[in-house]
């Protein structure tokens, strides 16, 4: 049945060229095509500088593609979309706003009613374990807590698509594993569609339904891996032979293992 429906996200021959004054243009993305089904979590895995972040920013409408098709939710994406949520590598919280006001920032920008959103913001904060910190300032929180606030902010307007750019890259390993479980938990509760950029093979396999492995620049899809490990996934999943096999396959696509 699924194959008859149009996919939620459709990327076809996406190509990106950066013009550089006085130099030959830089081809960031050669050609990337894949489909994204609603409710799926897809990871874009690749070495640093390979163009995966550029691809995510094109999908977010933050930068323009040079050619190709980027269709999400039946819209050609050419500019930022109000029904997308975005999480960056840095929390990017506003130091002058309290935690709650930071989470409500998208609502304020879009001019929606604060009342109902405020209740939702409190729910999200309790979901990520930050109840009681609503009126704290970001500087009073640890890095992991700040990134959890950023996650709540991205989810507060119930986005159709959650875009995450190496969201846990700046965190220490234990906090990162905690955040990965938190993301899976939230995703199970909100059934959000998620596209996540990472350079960690284990993170990609642990979180995703699908892993799009990017080649070094100019980016192509080196491998498109369906991760058929059942959800909910637990930290023990990381030691299952199927998990290791998938990690190994991702490593081969990256040219790290043979």
């Amino acid at each position: 049945m699924d194959s008859l429906r149009r996919p939620f996200g459709h990327f076809e021959n996406v190509h990106k060229l950066f013009k550089r004054p006085g130099q030959t243009p830089l081809v960031a993305i050669d050609t990337v095509s894949f489909d994204l089904q609603a409710g799926q979590l897809i990871s874009l895995l690749g070495p640093s500088g390979c163009g995966k972040t550029t691809f995510l920013r094109i999908a977010a409408g933050l930068i323009a593609k040079t050619s190709g098709i980027v269709e999400i939710n039946d819209n050609e994406v050419e500019r930022p979309q109000p029904d997308f949520g975005m999480v960056f590598q840095q929390p990017n919280l506003m130091p002058w706003r309290t935690v709650l006001k930071n989470v409500l920032f998208p609502i304020e920008i879009q001019g929606d009613a604060q009342g109902a959103a405020s209740g939702r913001a409190m729910e999200l904060l309790s979901l990520v374990g930050l109840s009681g910190f609503e009126h704290a300032y970001p500087a009073q929180l640890s890095g992991g807590m700040q990134q959890r606030v950023a996650l709540c902010r991205a989810l507060v307007n119930q986005p159709k698509l959650l875009l995450m750019d190496e969201p846990f890259g700046a965190l220490d390993e234990l906090t990162r594993m905690e955040m990965q479980d938190l993301l899976l938990d939230i995703r199970a509760k909100t059934s959000a569609t998620v596209m996540l950029v990472t350079h960690s093979m284990s993170e990609a396999v642990y979180l995703s339904d699908k892993v799009a492995v990017f080649s070094p620049r100019p980016a192509k899809i080196a491998d498109f891996i369906a991760v058929d490990l059942p959800y909910p996934r637990r930290p023990e999943t990381r030691y299952a032979p199927e998990f290791t096999a998938l990690e190994h396959r991702a490593g081969r696509a990256l040219g790290i293992t043979r």
Partner: protein
């Protein structure tokens, strides 16, 4: 009051006390004329005895300083917005700003006096002239230093340019605006006094001049002390405004 706050109060006072004590000892032992250097006790006693006159002369200086400073904010901040947001404005205005700033204010004070007369407006103009440069430079720096991550976020949320300006750029620039304002308010006092020195009939600067010409050393020094206290209080007022407007800067760390 915890011990750290107590220390922040005691150590500066201790420094002042030591200098005043040495000064007092020197004047009483050396027998130096009070016209040349009055003792701290003499200055203190004049400050108290003639406090009517001193207070009366403080008002004009205070008003000139505060109005000049307010005008500097009113003109300086919008100017900084143009300089920060438009490359053309930056190229056209910045050299002019720097050029006007490098003219010694003492040297143009007589001209200002010719333009604006002996009244309050010439002092206000001088206070404005010295105060507005740090405000423009710091505000423009602050506006340009808005973290790109926050601009990205606002862009991704489809924020309008107006929203970006008021909800992101201005709050992000506030620490810079206050840093410039603290420099500006102390400079504004100096600007007002320069104006009073060059031509006036009132103000603490005028009192210093007239007391000096009447060989009343202690009164001239008392006026100087009042001037510096005025400067300190105005600086403290700006610092207090900063604290109230930026509560996040002083919220306890985790």
């Amino acid at each position: 009051m915890n011990s750290e706050n107590l220390g922040r109060l005691i150590y500066p006072l201790l420094g002042v006390a030591v200098i005043v004590a040495i000064w007092q000892l020197y004047t009483s032992w050396s027998g130096i004329s009070p016209l040349v250097l009055p003792s701290p006790l003499e200055i203190a006693s004049v400050s108290v005895k003639r406090y009517d006159l001193l207070l009366q002369q403080t008002w004009p200086t205070l008003i000139e300083t505060v109005l000049g400073f307010a005008l500097a904010l009113l003109i300086g901040i919008p100017l900084a917005v143009f300089v920060a947001n438009s490359r053309l404005c930056n190229l056209v205005l910045y050299p002019i700003l720097v050029a006007t700033q490098s003219i010694p204010k003492v040297a143009i004070a007589p001209i200002i006096l010719v333009w604006f007369g002996l009244g309050i407006s010439s002092k206000l103009a001088l206070a404005f002239l010295v105060a507005f440069f740090p405000i423009v430079v710091d505000t423009a720096t602050g506006l340009k230093a808005t973290p790109t991550g926050l601009l990205d976020l606002a862009h991704a949320l489809c924020a309008s340019p107006r929203q970006v300006f008021f909800k992101v750029q201005i709050p992000a620039a506030l620490p810079f605006i206050f840093a410039g304002s603290k420099v500006a308010i102390t400079l504004a006092v100096i600007g007002a006094v320069i104006g009073e020195f060059v031509g006036s009939v009132t103000g603490l600067g005028n009192l210093v001049l007239s007391a000096n010409s009447q060989l009343d050393g202690p009164l001239a020094w008392a006026a100087l002390v009042w001037l510096s206290v005025l400067g300190i209080l105005l600086f403290a007022a700006v610092a207090l405004a900063e604290r109230l407007m930026m509560p996040w800067e002083h919220a306890g760390q985790n």
